[in-house]
Symmetry: D2
Subunit: 337 residues, 4 copies
């Protein structure tokens, strides 16, 4: 039996234009990020965001996030984030490693989102004492670990609290494409116009081979990033192969097309089940359903591969390249439950 | 004018069989290193070395080295190495970062090589006192930063000192292929049979896109490496593209063929100049020449790109894909000096 | 107006026998911990606990805790603790610093205590995945940050979970004396007999000048502690002055007498107010009371110094040397509210 | 037989005025460094140095040095120092720990001193490349590990190089008193007037129990030191006992009187031997002599305790409280060799 993969978008195939770009980059050039592809990153992202930015490539979202946080939080500081944020739950301690031992300061909230109010309450509960780790930054994820999105207004409201409290503002955009595609808004409105200082911009889950970018809207924050990246062993010698992927993803809005594709699949899956089964509204490309143990076994018997999400839920993630027959099969199987 | 690159082997193109393997790996599979390519690594390297090993992929030599050292040296310990070792001079502090603040304990020696005697002397100069950082490991590079090689006997002699002093033994094999090709020996003789506990096995400089392996001859040392790798942001989600490169490099001795090719170019360059100009004997794919400032200017005017090595020397590195006309041009230019 | 200090026991005076011991230690001896006082620590604590232990001095509870945790948790691991534990809330990130970036994994619970059930639930919620920081240890505080105590049975129940889950078990005993005095039990029953592997034994809050001990019941855990202590700048050159304090504190049960004294004061304070005002039962030397803002102002006007504990509570801590007139004054002031 | 200690000044007794000050501080006050003694430190040191400074206490020289370096060097940076500096050879890796993994960049030189020329040469050998750890600071020790002193002019020359190269300048003053006493100069001339940004000012070796200060001449460098100190477990709760020691040491030039005393003893020892035996000129309170193994055995048989310094030398350190009969005995023994 063929396995039908809905466990994650992170193992999907590489989109053809990206693979073509990789092949085209197979020519001699300068090492590290002195090649002509890497040298274009600032310009490409500046155009995308409509403002001058500095952009550095990375090969994983964990590295992009951890490097970002190390630029905005000292070893003795803390970073406010959702209690369900990827940096807290799924990065194996990378933020603590890269920052030299800072603390993540958890904010409660539904759907792995934080509200401005909850953020403010958490920040204000920390006395300005030498005994308590002080918050230096806040990070949010859009779309979130639980498939929710922050609108431009919601992002700006977080940004306002950050400014008020003297916090730097980072956006984990591992699935930024899915958020932008879902909201139909301008990337600028979800980032620098809403007060975001720097972001991790993900491409790997969305059709690249291994390509992420750290985009510095506050360009001064990029000052030491190349040193930190090298020190972390993340300065690839043939960086052109990473930069070329990014260029291909951004060209002709490929990133948005691919994200729309996975979002659409998620919507179809969502619509195939009784709304009461939805743990969270389906906003991007992730679907969380209340499915009993017996039902899971039934689905797995049919070849579906997915993660359990606690005792009562499962997670289904749609990929950009999800074959039509797999979607149809899942729709049918879910309806039959 | 076309630039003719002899600055490093690290920006060379990707060999065709490697690129083919990458393209062939573009199919859906499990994430991280649960895919079928990654799952084969242990077997492939075990066969190559004629002993059971554990092997994990990485994307840079710096990461492979730093992860390796973190497996054999605690934060409060030290690692003995050549004063000219790559880990000391060119990794931006990665060993210190990954080990949590250990110290590199420098051993003097010619050609970035260390002798068993010098190693022993350095180790014995450190009193067993709580005030002094104690050595826990030794690392050597083969071929070295200065293009020299350790023979199996020389490696075994280092291994003997390591055993005597209770030190773990790491081999930085960023250019291991060049050493094996130059010595014409069995990989086992340069590694586990000589007492090496773990190694960084490099492919990127030798025709891969971004692929290195940490090979654990003492398999217990691998116990925490996957956690450390994840924590460092080095667990790529589409690991199959890394593993596939390695498989292609090792298939039909491609790695040795490519290394022989760059070694041969280096020999030709070496023979094009007066032996007196040689700073070190040419053993692998690097050539260090005494060249005056005026002569350098002349070479650069002709389009040659290379590094200055201190005030009196230059470094020329041959790549596996160095075009014949570039070699001929360099031979001619050097003879004309 | 004289200030009447109930803000903490950590600024109390030094008990006369301790000061006498310091003065008596002012003679030439060996440096660091080679002096005759430091050399006695193992024996003194072994006698106290009725088992062979290794004991090292320290000068702060934060250092003792952080060194302890670094002995039982690797940089990539986690330590389970109460969400209100001192290591989490009041050590400025010291555990993260000393362990090299580990995570504290918070367990909910009343009175800064954790139950075996809550501990187990929290531990089991962490999948054995490379993406999630794995728990390596658990730490509890006795008496707790909120003045509660763990009985020998409760401690043993935590110890049983620790054993079952393969966790090391640390006890933060900054106020261990208050717990032992309150429970009237044997120190062994609250520690090694209940599965505790190592503890921080506090004396500073209880009449010493600056003296804590790390007591290793599992003596192998002490293997690297002297190196870690030195590396942290905590190896005092005249260690005899620390060891002499500890010896004086343990002689003739001075530590228990002083703890009984502060516990008694706390009981008197507790009895001076309506039981409805008690946020937690008063078990040791700390009293948490629901006191309105107006009432606090009134108390402060009378010279009482204490901490606010959130918006609705205050904390009163009794010291070993609390003068009778201060206790009487507080009793009177509280009754008058 | 009585042992006659010349192994170090770090285990000497506490001077009577210091012990009196400790006893006098045994009264209730605020915790940490909010007490009246700690609050005076800035003023006391500002008066001593004739400029406004910020001063924080610490309990060991290692902590003072490591905290200092963490204020001037990021985790990815390096600190230039003598190859024989205490931070490099005798602090168990504390600088690497506190800075989060920076590197010490060693400068050769006689007597553990560095010259401006050697410093400049070493700094300039480091290319401004992302691969190489960049120097951010320089630290010197006065008097040095080998008993030498930097004059105001020599210090200023180092300061000039630091300024030229954009390096922060730290002074390890574990034996600053011995240097000032030897040179008879103003403390200001050896510090801020010579470009020193911050220093570790030692008192423990010179008659205190455990008291050092970090003096920030550039007061902005003190910004995070209290957080770092807390995080390192070095914020003692009864800080008044540390501050009181410092106040007593500085009162009526006690620190200089005690240093003169140990310097004088060193001079007498020096004069008791043939000048040819001197490994270094005796400038402060340390004497390094060429003494054969047989002669060492003879000295030890007579009860003298001292360190071997390599194979050919011994180190004799004079303490402030060295009894006259011990000095006479050593003079006699050395003359008899």
């Amino acid at each position: 039996m063929q396995s039908i993969r809905f466990f994650s978008d992170n193992a999907a195939t590489v989109a053809a234009p990206v693979m073509d770009a990789i092949i085209a980059a197979n020519q001699s050039d300068m090492a590290y990020d002195s090649d002509k592809w890497s040298q274009k990153l600032d310009a490409i992202f500046s155009e995308l965001f409509g403002t001058d930015v500095t952009a550095h490539w990375a090969v994983t979202g964990t590295a992009a996030n951890a490097l970002s946080l190390s630029a905005i939080c000292p070893p003795f500081g803390g970073v406010l984030c959702s209690q369900d944020a990827h940096v807290q739950t799924d990065e194996g301690g990378a933020p603590e490693f890269y920052t030299g031992g800072s603390k993540l300061l958890l904010v409660p909230g539904e759907g792995a989102k934080i509200t401005p109010e909850a953020l403010k309450t958490r920040a204000e509960a920390i006395a300005d004492s030498v005994h308590m780790v002080q918050p230096h930054a806040v990070t949010i994820t859009n779309s979130t670990e639980l498939g929710q999105v922050y609108t431009p207004e919601e992002t700006a409201a977080i940004g306002a609290v950050a400014r008020e409290k003297g916090l730097r503002f980072h956006l984990d955009g591992a699935r930024f494409a899915n958020a932008v595609a879902a909201l139909g808004c301008n990337p600028a409105d979800l980032t620098w116009k809403a007060g975001v200082d720097l972001m991790s911009f993900g491409f790997t889950k969305n059709g690249a081979m291994a390509a992420e970018a750290i985009v510095f809207f506050d360009r001064e924050l990029a000052a030491h990033n190349k040193r930190r990246r090298k020190r972390a062993g993340h300065l690839l010698s043939k960086g052109r192969f990473i930069a070329a992927q990014i260029e291909a993803m951004l060209k002709n809005d490929l990133w948005l097309d691919l994200a729309r594709s996975s979002n659409t699949v998620a919507k179809r899956i969502a619509e195939a089940v009784d709304p009461k089964r939805h743990a969270y509204p389906v906003k991007a490309n992730e679907v969380f359903l209340f499915i009993s143990m017996e039902e899971r076994a039934e689905l797995r018997k049919q070849g579906f591969v997915f993660y359990d999400w606690g005792h009562d839920k499962i997670r289904l993630v749609a990929s950009w390249d999800q074959p039509e027959h797999e979607v149809v099969a899942l729709e049918k199987a879910l309806k039959a439950l």
